[in-house]
Symmetry: C2
Subunit: 356 residues, 2 copies
């Protein structure tokens, strides 16, 4: 268990800090701006985070790593992936300086910093912790349905595609449920969620045989001291690259209900590499059916609400899209960031009561 | 690329050699008995392989590892998984003796023998190769549909459950197609298939994000010099533990057609750990629909034949089960081991011609 609330972070986003290019950095800034002392990016140096992202306030962007360290962080958080996946020499220098100051490193990279011979050794010598949050636990089970037996009501977000708001939806819903006095717990399944919450498993990084087992273990863990467990979804059942992760998560977490997330303006699967989009996103009612049918042979579940991401629409377009989504599916719908998660929180409470 | 045909193997199956307990050893014995000098198992020592399995002829079972080595193997093949997943001290001793004799080690264990500090070092010092066939390639792509663009006709076996004959079906079909003059190539996706063919990727052992990418890479590789590519299936879309691997393989390999495999007497998913069976296997027509629907949003495909595994039925029961499977689904059906793969090979040729 990490303790993000005790830390003050310097975020590395060198050369890539921007609204669309630094997803991890941006989520951290959105969810815990008060814990961030600065963003390091030589390109945007001198601006504030708000200047670059349109949110995040007066957090400075610094162009000199040492200057960032001088602002008093207790940890350095890696907010972008270096191009090519390997650690460039400059990064190595920054991370070494971080460790030598006795500051923790928080990383969600696929290649583990703690396994780097030089950085790993220096960290061990100085007794400094490197948190490679994508590193799976050593021992994971093969899923066998134990997640179906927990007491709390379990909800999984599922999506039309990657990067449509499955994590954000659950966080908004969690806050709303907690505000109403429910013991609701968010379960992180990706690096950003783990940065936010301090625990979880990046299910896309486990060995394929253990995807569902990781989901099962997370639900069992999240079920302690909770009445409602909100599992962060990943990928999409219709994504050519990541669908396996999505199905493993669906079968392993044994959700009582699903919330379907979609970016209203998106009509093809968008997140793969350098090729023309070729997988069409079907209409919402068809997506509902795809998820319910995929779950059914293992454990039936149902979609009980729709979360639309409307960030690139005007206010009136967004209202119209939400109304249409509700009409098409006959389900409560909202953009939980723009219009609030109330309809979804209410649907969950209603269904959880009915399931008792 | 390994070269199984050049080797003579001593198989380790200590304490577990038997019809149901040593799946990897048994498949190797079934497919290349002529390359196996002995099986090492202290419990069954003194018997022949045929005594224990009911096939495999006069291959001796030895109770002394050194005696096995004295029979002149060029490699030691690990035919069972040690209980608990860790290498017991005795195993370590056997494997060290193997390396010190200059013999290769072939292993499909989840924990990699080459990564063992002691055994890895000794092997490097002596220049001996350890083949951890479950170790994924260093660089895998995120799948993006390139498997759909290969020239050959691609067939994937899918199943009602694990361990119903998805590999065996493809091997039988491959042999039949080759006999008829077709350039048919088997693509291994699991450890036993890799032992048999000398190449492949154990897709259950790759990092979850890369399941479909591994499948894509395998199809591109298999498509060279082939007119028909036969991809070994894994798991089942209705298996609570392994469904993610199955969906990733389905979407990543972009098959033109599927062959559905089922063990005729099995009615619940059986391969998970110490709990009552709780997932029912639906009727074959429903399974056909489950696979076709799961594939459709990414790339439509269809089931074109049924492979029944009838090993535990009488001859007349088996004939009846095959006839019923054909009637229920309207598709060619056979037990490819018991009654031959001809109906399936013919269905593939017919469909491949029609697709030109």
């Amino acid at each position: 268990m990490l303790t993000p609330s005790r830390h003050r972070f310097l975020i590395i986003a060198d050369g890539e800090f921007g609204p669309l290019s630094s997803k991890t950095a941006n989520s951290c800034i959105r969810y815990f701006p008060e814990r961030i002392v600065a963003v390091f990016d030589r390109k945007q140096a001198g601006k504030t985070v708000h200047d670059v992202l349109g949110f995040g306030g007066a957090i400075p962007v610094v162009g000199d790593f040492e200057r960032g360290l001088a602002l008093g962080p207790t940890a350095v958080l890696i907010g972008i992936a270096p191009a090519g996946g390997q650690l460039p020499a400059e990064w190595r220098q920054w991370l070494r300086a971080t460790i030598e100051r006795g500051l923790e490193i928080w990383s969600g990279l696929h290649s583990f910093i703690g396994d780097d011979p030089e950085l790993g050794r220096v960290a061990r010598e100085r007794g400094v912790r490197i948190h490679d949050v994508r590193k799976p636990p050593a021992k994971l089970p093969i899923a066998d349905g134990r997640a179906a037996e927990v007491e709390p009501y379990v909800i999984l977000t599922v999506g039309s595609d990657c990067n449509v708001g499955k994590m954000t939806a659950q966080l908004q819903i969690r806050d709303e449920l907690v505000k109403r006095g429910h013991r609701a717990r968010f379960v992180a399944t990706g690096q950003t969620g783990i940065f936010l919450e301090g625990w979880g498993i990046a299910v896309d990084a486990v060995v394929a045989d253990f995807i569902a087992g990781a989901a099962e273990q997370l639900v069992l863990e999240g079920a302690r001291d909770a009445d409602i467990v909100l599992v962060e979804g990943q990928g999409s059942l219709i994504h050519p690259g990541y669908s396996g992760v999505t199905l493993g998560l669906l079968h392993g977490s044994c959700p009582d209900a699903l919330i379907l997330c979609h970016q209203a303006t998106r009509d093809t699967i968008g997140d793969y590499h350098g090729r023309e989009p070729w997988v069409k996103i079907p209409p919402l009612p068809e997506l509902v059916e795809i998820y319910e049918r995929a779950a059914a042979p293992v454990r039936p579940t149902k979609v009980i609400g729709i979360c639309l991401n409307t960030f690139d629409m005007t206010e009136s377009q967004a209202r119209e899209a939400v109304a249409r989504a509700g009409d098409e599916t006959g389900l409560p719908a909202s953009d939980p960031v723009r219009f609030g998660p109330e309809p979804l929180a209410e649907a969950i409470i209603r269904e959880a009561m009915a399931a008792r």
